[in-house]
């Protein structure tokens, strides 16, 4: 089967600084691929090259068809949370604007947006301003915007940054479900344990492709050490893989610059003694 997106010998840089070098990557239909690597490894740049937001300095990027439907969930930090839009309005942005020239959405467009929000279990939040949602809910709103366009390829940049462990797990669960339904998914993540648990094909990147394969093959101390230039511990138990950067060899006393007079305050006592007091009652 022909790859949907094919990168051959791609290199890219900002000015004289090369961010990516000699990238060969094929994204096949139905694949679920995770890009992992340290900060500055070129993960976001690689996504932007695939999305044609950047132009490669060398090499070629080919799509199986020019009209291949690709949608994108950007890093949550790039969103202006004060922008006056509701969750539903964000989702409606994802629709093909050429289908409806009027400024207001058609009934069936709103219905479709609601269906997707309901499916992601945030339908009841459709009228809320995006700022008033939790990190996990915000991420699901942007996932809904990507899904409303009915994409063939879904691209996500750090979809679990800034969300708690449970929300991160939920997001990866949804992505797994979508992948099982046939959607091709490409994402970047810093969460190696989530990638190990959910992503069937991992590409380890640090300006070049260090290695690619299944999590069992990629999450080894050697490969991670090579990519991150650090010392990793990899624990395998049944089908699970746990990855942890080995801590620096010093204790808390080495970190504190000066001894604390009278010792450190007892956190448990502080919390136990604290009681809620209503400000209005106090007044």
């Amino acid at each position: 089967m022909n790859p949907l997106i094919e990168l051959n010998g791609v290199a890219f840089g900002y000015g004289s600084f090369n961010v990516l070098d000699d990238i060969d990557l094929h994204l096949h239909p139905g694949q679920f691929v995770g890009l992992v690597g340290p900060s500055g490894a070129g993960k976001t740049s690689l996504l932007k090259l695939i999305l044609t937001l950047l132009t490669p300095g060398e090499g070629q990027i080919q799509r199986v068809r020019p009209d291949l439907r690709i949608t994108y969930v950007p890093q949550i930090e790039t969103v202006d949370w004060s922008f006056p839009v509701t969750a539903e309005e964000v989702v409606l942005m994802g629709l093909d604007h050429r289908q409806n020239i009027w400024p207001w959405p058609r009934r069936r467009e709103r219905k479709r947006a609601r269906e997707i929000l309901d499916r992601l279990e945030i339908g009841h939040l459709a009228e809320r301003h995006i700022r008033d949602l939790s990190g996990g809910q915000q991420q699901r709103v942007f996932l809904a915007r990507a899904l409303v366009a009915d994409p063939e390829v879904l691209v996500l940049d750090e979809p679990t940054t800034g969300v708690d462990v449970r929300s991160a797990e939920n997001i990866f669960h949804w992505l797994t479900v979508l992948n099982k339904e046939g959607m091709t998914i490409l994402l970047t993540t810093h969460d190696l344990n989530m990638a190990a648990a959910h992503v069937p094909w991992v590409v380890c990147l640090n300006r070049r492709i260090v290695a690619q394969g299944s999590p069992q093959d990629i999450f080894t101390e050697e490969i991670l050490g090579d990519a991150y230039k650090g010392d990793f511990i990899v624990i395998r138990q049944d089908d699970l893989i746990f990855v942890q950067q080995r801590p620096h060899p010093h204790g808390l006393n080495d970190v504190l610059p000066h001894p604390v007079e009278g010792g450190m305050p007892n956190h448990d006592n502080l919390v136990n003694n604290a009681q809620p007091v209503s400000a209005s009652k106090e007044a």
Partner: protein, 284 residues
């Protein structure tokens, strides 16, 4: 009632009021997109850039509108492209492009002192000088801007929200931004006569930020901001007539007072909510 109707016996007031209402509403409508893109300074900057263009058009004996709109359009495009393709921030790009253009205008005026008097009106606004031709231009620009915003509402919204992502979703962001730059330049030219170069920036920004304090809805922001801009244009003209101050200054002062009132109202509401809702934790 006489107080309200009396000024309308003068043709200059009738022309000026039509112009002020349309320009006030139009600036406020376009201003919504400017404020949300974090480019509030662009109106102020572009109006100065256009001033340079107007002077050049005068010297080269071009039509004022053609010269100034072309100049403003090129300046707006230069700013957009500088921000898109370099690491220079919007405020810095606006500062460089527009101040250079304004400086050119000032340099040419000081070199050819004979026409400096007529440019006072361009700097501070002059309601007495509004001609039927000016009104025709304002009406045309209002229709063009309304048409664009109506039919490209969704594309403009997405581009304003996140240009890069909008491009991935098939929005022709380059053309949307180019059209917007052209409309913005045209709005500024249309508003120069009534508001003056130095006041346009505020007319673009103050109504949207005032309404922004009161609503979280994009379409309400657009509708109420336009209404506020038009209303302050009308009331500002009366103030200008009865208090005998320049039209641009009276409109902007009125808008600024309303902004302060909205800010005061919102601060009070927030403080009340905070006092009622926020539990305070601490040792008893």
């Amino acid at each position: 009632m006489d107080v309200l109707l009396a000024p309308f016996q003068y043709e200059f007031f009738r022309n000026g009021t039509i112009a002020a209402v349309l320009v006030g509403g139009l600036c406020a409508l376009i201003g919504v997109y400017i404020v949300l893109r974090g480019m509030s300074f662009i109106g102020h900057g572009l109006s100065h850039a256009v001033f340079g263009g107007a002077v050049v058009a005068f010297i080269l004996q071009f039509n004022f509108y053609v010269g100034a709109v072309s100049w403003g359009f090129v300046a707006a495009l230069l700013i957009n492209q500088t921000v898109r393709k370099t690491t220079i921030s919007a405020d810095a790009a606006i500062g460089v492009v527009t101040t250079a253009s304004f400086a050119l205008g000032v340099a040419l005026i000081s070199r050819y002192r004979r026409f400096s008097q007529s440019f006072d009106a361009a700097l501070f606004g002059n309601v007495l000088g509004v001609t039927p031709m000016d009104i025709a231009v304002i009406v045309f620009v209002t229709l063009a801007a309304t048409f664009m915003i109506f039919f490209f509402y969704k594309q403009l919204l997405f581009t304003t929200f996140n240009t890069e992502v909008a491009q991935v979703y098939g929005v022709p962001t380059f053309w949307i931004e180019t059209w917007f730059a052209l409309i913005l330049a045209a709005v500024i030219i249309a508003a120069v006569q009534i508001m003056g170069v130095t006041m346009i920036g505020a007319a673009l920004v103050v109504p949207p930020i005032t309404i922004r304090l009161l609503t979280d809805s994009f379409h309400r922001l657009m509708i109420y901001s336009t209404i506020l801009g038009a209303l302050t244009g009308l009331i500002g003209m009366y103030l200008s007539f009865y208090v005998d101050v320049s039209s641009g200054a009276s409109i902007v002062l009125l808008q600024s007072i309303l902004f302060c009132l909205a800010l005061f109202y919102v601060s009070r509401i927030r403080n009340k909510r905070r006092l009622v809702e926020t539990p305070v934790y601490g040792p008893t």
